[in-house]
Amino acid sequence: MTEQPLFQLDQLHIAFDGTAVVEDLSLEVHHGETLALVGESGSGKSVSALGAMGLLPANAAIRGSRRLAGQQLEGLTQRDWQRIRGSRVGFIFQEPMTSLNPLHNIGKQIGEVLRLHQGLTGQSARKRARELLERVQLPRAAELLDTWPHQLSGGQRQRVMIAMAIANHPRLLIADEPTTALDVTVQQEILSLLAELRDEQGMGMLFITHDLNLVRHHADRVCVMHQGRMQESGEVRDVFTQPRSDYTRALLDAEPSGRPAPVASSRLLLQATGLSVDFQRPKKLFQRRPPPFAALQPLDLQVSPGETLGIVGESGSGKSTLAQALLRLVPSQGEIDFDGVRLDQLGQRDMRRQRRRFQVVFQDPFGSLSPRMPVADIISEGLRFHHPELSPATVSQRVAATLQEVGLPEGCAARYPHEFSGGQRQRIAVARAIIMEPELIVLDEPTSALDRSVQAQLVTLLRELQRKRGISYLFISHDLAVVRAMAHRLLVLKDGVVVEHGYCRDVLESPASDYTSALVNAAGLTASSE
C-alpha cells in the first residue's frame, strides 16, 4: 500500500470569466519531497497554486478535487481557510522587496504570524521569532528583530519570508519563484536552506519556477506546464534525460548555445582608460560631506570592431553604471576613446552628434519603449533627428527593412508597443538601435526579462546581426549561459572592482578567482555545446 500523498490536485480547472487558464491539472506532493512546477510566463503555474489555496479573486471559477493531508479543500469557509493558510501551508513569494510590509519591523511581522496561529505574544513570541531567524541562518538574529525591511538585502528579506512561512510548522510549503529576483550565488544558498528545512520538518514542497537549471538540482519530481495544460510529469532525472513531450524537449533545448563568430580585426574601437564613477553622498547638516561612494573603481577596457565584451556581475556590482559611464549618461572620470574621438572631452552638442555611433538596448522591454508612440516612430526617431535630410518615404523604407532584419512581422510599424510580447518588444528595441547603423551597441541585460526559449532566439538574432554588420557589443548580464553564447571576452565585476578579465572560454572553464568560480558553479552550466 502506498503512502497517502500530502497534497493532491485532481483534474483542476481554473477559468477567469469563462476563459480557461488551467485545464485538467493533476499532481500530488508527498511528505519530504519537492515537486517542481515548471513553465514559461503565462503557463498558469502560479495561478494553479494560488487557485488550489483559494487565493484567487472572485471572478475565478475553480473545478476539480483538492486535498491537503486527507482534508477536502472544496467548500471551506473563510474561517477554515484562514486556519489552513499560514499554519498548515506556508507561502513564499517571488518579490522579496514587496512581500514584507515596509511599515512594520521584522520582529513584529513574524510575531503577527505567531500570534494568529499559535497565540504567542510578548516575550515568548519574540523568543520564538529569534529562533526562527537563527533557523534560517540570518546573522545577529536578536538585532534583526528591530530592523526594518528596507535595511535588509533581497536575500535577507527572502530568508525572513521563509522564517515566516515555517513559523507554524506547515506541512506544505509553496514557494512561488522564490529566488527569481535574487543573485545566483544567493539563489543557491536560499534553495539549499529550503531543502534542509524540508528534510528537517518533513514538509512537502511545491516549487514553482521557470528555471530548468534549478529544477535539475533542487527538485525530486517535476511537472511541466504549457499554456494551462500539464505536458509531462515524472522524476526529474527521467524527464531531463528522456523528455516525452515535444514542449519539454523544446524547453530543454532552449538553453542558449553556440558561440559568436570570431573577431577579424585587431584594431581598437572603444578604449577606456582609468574609467571610474563616484556618487556623491548627501551632506548631513553641520557635518562634513562623507567621502563619495565609489560605484566603479578605475578600470581599463578595450573593444575591437565585431567583438563582444561580456560584463558579468551580480546586482550592485557596477555593471550598469559602467555601461552608462561609457555612454556618458552618468558623470565619470578617466579617458574614453571611441574610434579616435575622446568622448570624455566632448561638449554637449558634439557628444549628441557622436551618439549616433553607439546605441543601447535596455533590460526592461516594457519600460524602454515610449507607450504613446507607434513602432515606426520609435524606431525612426533617432534617424530622423540625425539625418533630417532623409525624405519620409526613405525613412519608412529603412524602418520596414530594419523590422524585417530583426524578424518582426510586416505591418507592425503602425502598432503600439503594448500590442507586442516581451520578446517582440526587445526586437523593437534592437531595431531602434541598428537603424542608426552604429558601430557599438551596449546591451544592458537584454535577455533577463525574457523566457528561456525567447532568450535563445534573441541571442541568435544578435549574433547574426553582428556577423552581418560587424557591430561590437558590450553585453551586460548576470546570466552566464547567455554570456557564454554571446561574448568573446569577459570582464567580471564585483562591488565596482574588476575581479577577472580574459577570454570567455578561459574565464568560464578555469576561473582564476574564487568569486568567478562561485558564479560558474551557481549557474550550473551544462557542458559547452560547441
Binding site: R352, R355, R356, G367, S368, R415, S421, R432, V454
Partner: protein, 360 residues
C-alpha cells in the same frame, strides 16, 4: 468626410475618439455645449437691438454691419439710428420692412416701454424677464455665456502653456533648477490674488484683458506640481534614457517622450481649470471687482438676483445658466480624462488590447 479625417489620425487617437464616443453622457454634453457655444458666438445674430436686414424706399440696408445715421430715415440728428425708437420704426415700416433677430434686444438695450416697473417678470416680449435696469435677461445670458466661456478658454490655454513649461523644466532637469524653481513658485503662490485685483480695480478700469492677465499670473500654479511630478518620474524611465542615448536634445525629449506621457495627469486638471476660470470671473463680477459696469456678465446677474429677491427669475436664471454650463463642462472633462487613460484604451479597442499571439 468624417471618415477621411478619422483615417488620417493615428490609431491611438482613433481609439481615444472611440472611448470618448462610447461615453454617452460626455458625448451628449459635448454636443450640447458646442451647440450653445456656437449659438453664443453668433450672439449678435441671435440677440440684437438692430435689424439683421431691411429694405427702405427700395434700398437694402444691413444695420448689423453698418451704422446708418438717423437722418437716413427721416430723423434730424446725424447720430446712429435707433431702430427701436417707435418713430423711426414707423417711418421705415411705412416704406419697407425689417428683419429682426429672434431676441430683439442687445445685452445693453434699455427697454423704455415696459408694462411693469423693472425688473419685470417673464413675458412674451421678454422671455426671461428684465433685470432691474430694464435690460433683457435672455440677451444678457447669451452674451454672458460667450464672455465666460471665451475668458475661461483663454485662461485655460494660457495656464496650460505656462504650467506645463515651468513644471516641465523643473521636473525634467531636477536638482538645483527644481529646488530654486520650487521655492520661487511657493513665494509666488503666497501673493494674495484677490487683493491684487481689488488694488488693480482702484488704479485702472479693469477690463477683460486686465482680469485675464492678472488671473493668468496665478492660475498656472496648480498645474506646476502635477506636471513637475510627472516629469520627475518620467525622466528616469528607460525610454527617456534610451532617447538620451540616441542623442536627442532635451527639448525634443521633453516634447516627444515625456510630455505625451505626462499629459494624462495634466488633462484631468483641465476641466477644473476651465470651470475654475468661469467661477472666478463670476465671483469677481458678483463682488463688483470684475468687468466694467454694463458688461454682460453672469456674476452681475447673480448679484442682481441677490438684490432683487422679489424678482426670483433673476436668481433662478443665473443659477440655471451657471449650473448647466459647469455640469456640461465637468461631464466633458470626465469623458476626456477617460479617453486619455491608457488602461481604458486597452479595454475599449476590444481586439486592440489583447496581446498578439507570441510569434517570437
Amino acid at each position: 468626410m468624417l471618415d477621411v479625417m478619422r483615417s488620417r489620425l493615428s490609431p491611438i487617437s482613433r481609439r481615444r475618439l472611440a472611448v470618448f464616443h462610447h461615453n454617452r453622457r460626455a458625448r451628449v454634453s459635448l454636443w450640447v455645449f458646442l451647440a450653445l457655444f456656437v449659438i453664443s458666438l453668433g450672439a449678435e445674430l441671435v440677440a440684437n437691438d438692430k435689424p439683421l436686414l431691411m429694405q427702405y424706399q427700395g434700398d437694402w440696408y444691413v444695420p448689423l454691419v453698418v451704422d446708418y445715421p438717423d437722418t437716413e430715415f427721416g430723423g434730424f440728428l446725424p447720430t446712429p439710428a435707433d431702430y427701436r425708437d417707435p418713430h423711426t420704426r414707423n417711418t421705415i415700416e411705412a416704406e419697407g420692412w425689417m428683419l429682426w433677430p429672434p431676441v430683439p434686444y442687445s445685452y445693453n438695450t434699455l427697454d423704455m416701454g415696459l408694462e411693469h416697473p423693472a425688473p419685470s417678470p417673464p413675458s412674451a416680449e421678454h422671455w426671461l424677464g428684465t433685470d432691474d435696469q430694464g435690460r433683457d435677461v435672455l440677451a444678457r445670458v447669451i452674451y454672458g455665456f460667450r464672455l465666460s466661456v471665451v475668458f475661461a478658454l483663454i485662461l485655460t490655454i494660457g495656464s496650460l502653456v505656462l504650467g506645463v513649461l515651468i513644471g516641465g523644466v523643473q521636473g525634467y532637469f531636477g536638482g538645483k533648477v527644481d529646488l530654486i524653481g520650487q521655492r520661487l513658485t511657493e513665494i509666488w503662490s503666497g501673493l494674495p490674488v484677490l487683493f491684487l485685483l481689488i488694488i488693480l480695480a482702484s488704479m485702472v478700469e479693469p477690463n477683460l484683458w486686465w482680469l485675464l492677465g492678472i488671473m493668468l499670473l496665478f492660475s498656472w500654479l496648480g498645474l506646476v506640481d502635477v506636471v513637475r511630478a510627472e516629469f520627475l518620474r518620467a525622466r528616469n524611465l528607460e525610454y527617456v534614457r534610451a532617447a538620451r542615448a540616441m542623442g536627442l536634445p532635451s527639448h525634443l525629449i521633453m516634447w516627444r517622450h515625456v510630455l505625451p506621457n505626462a499629459m494624462v495627469a495634466t488633462l484631468t486638471f483641465i476641466p477644473f481649470l476651465f470651470t475654475g476660470g468661469i467661477t472666478t470671473l463670476t465671483a469677481l463680477d458678483f463682488l463688483g471687482f470684475g468687468l466694467p459696469p454694463g458688461s454682460p456678465s453672469l456674476g452681475e446677474l447673480v448679484a442682481q438676483g441677490k438684490n432683487n429677491l422679489q424678482a426670483p427669475w433673476l436668481g433662478i436664471v443665473a443659477f440655471m445658466t451657471l449650473s448647466i454650463m459647469l455640469s456640461l463642462l465637468v461631464f466633458i472633462g470626465e469623458g476626456l480624462r477617460d479617453a486619455f487613460d491608457p488602461r481604458h484604451i486597452q479595454h475599449a479597442g476590444g481586439q486592440a488590447g489583447t496581446r498578439t499571439p507570441d510569434d517570437d
